[in-house]
Amino acid sequence: MNKSFYTIFKTFFKVGTMLLGGGYVILPLLQSELVDKKGWIDSDGLCEYYALGQSVPGIIAANMSIFVGYKLKGQAGALAAVLGIVTPAFLAIVLIASILEEIVHLNFVQSIFWGVGIGVIMLLFLATREMWDKSIVDRFTGIVFLAAFILSACFKVSPAIIILLAIVSGIIYRRNTTQILEEDIQEECKK
């Protein structure tokens, strides 16, 4: 199969247009496009990138695309993949944002957005619950959760500082133990 800059871009562009909702939806999409249709990588490889995509900072879908793109065609492949995954999102939002400016002052639009604001709180609750199930596994992680929550909600500490504190505390706490996390994600991915 031909792996030119353009085909890689096109493939990830297609995935980008079909990607709705949270980043976790990307797995079945990439499975169908890259593994089943193109045969560029195998299922195990994809699961590994899924685990890795969550282990580095940034947006998971972008991370995975860059990992796969780099594997396919080095830096050029990585660039093609990230441009492909990001462009549909960019175009859609710029279009919607332009229209929105024209209609946002209308009364019924305001009412809809009031309601949607409640829906968003619900989405945040669901996303938090999903993360909770994946991340709070023992007392230490429970304490980290609580500390991050209090520092952010009550003291308005910058999220970046909280993330740095978490990294430091994790390294200090885990200095003498080993735990396998990436394998857990890979297990879950293969189900």
């Binding site: 969550q54 900072p57 940034g58 990001v86 999102a89 669901l126 500390a147 885990r174």
Partner: protein, 176 residues
């Protein structure tokens, strides 16, 4: 100057956000409160729209926030800056994949990062709840919550239902 500032803010979001779709939100929320580029209410609208438009939510919201700050060029700068750290880091790691995967400190950091990201997101949710939900809103949330326990639904479902309720509530002036 605004573009340099945008670049720095969104680069730091890309560098420090962990944990998927909504992980960038606590950062964007912090910006809303501190920079005043857009309001918290605007951010809520952005999140809603981003959840039902094509593309990764994190990219959508960054593009949106950039656009709200300074138009299409702002959108471009924000989008590019939020994925730039990913690009750099992933390429570095790809070159030393084995060392990264088996590194004890990396694993330890991730172990603590996940609950921290979760706590940050929970804080945003609680803050939004305190600021936005009146009696009707609380009732709506309660209903959505019970529906979610029965069956898993798409984000579109929750946003659609709450948009309809908002529309009706608007007619009867209940949204104030």
């Amino acid at each position: 100057m605004i573009y340099l500032n945008l670049f720095l803010q969104f680069f730091h979001i890309g560098l420090f956000s962990f944990g998927g779709g909504y992980a960038t939100l606590p950062f964007l929320y912090h910006i809303a409160e501190n920079q005043g580029w857009y309001t918290v209410n605007q951010l809520t609208d952005m999140i809603a729209i981003s959840s039902i438009t094509p593309g990764p939510v994190g990219v959508n919201v960054a593009t949106f926030a950039g656009f709200a700050t300074s138009g299409i060029l702002g959108a471009l700068v924000a989008t590019a800056s939020v994925v730039l750290p990913s690009y750099i880091i992933v390429i570095i790691i790809s070159k030393a994949l084995e060392q990264f995967e088996t590194n004890k400190n990396v694993r330890a950091a991730i172990y603590a990062l996940k609950p921290a990201g979760c706590g940050l997101l929970a804080a945003v949710g609680v803050d939004m709840f305190m600021n936005n939900a009146n009696l009707l809103g609380m009732f709506l949330l309660l209903v959505l919550f019970f529906v979610s326990r029965k069956q898993k639904h798409d984000p579109l479902f929750y946003l659609g239902v709450s948009a309809l309720v908002g529309l009706f509530a608007g007619f009867f002036h209940l949204t104030a």
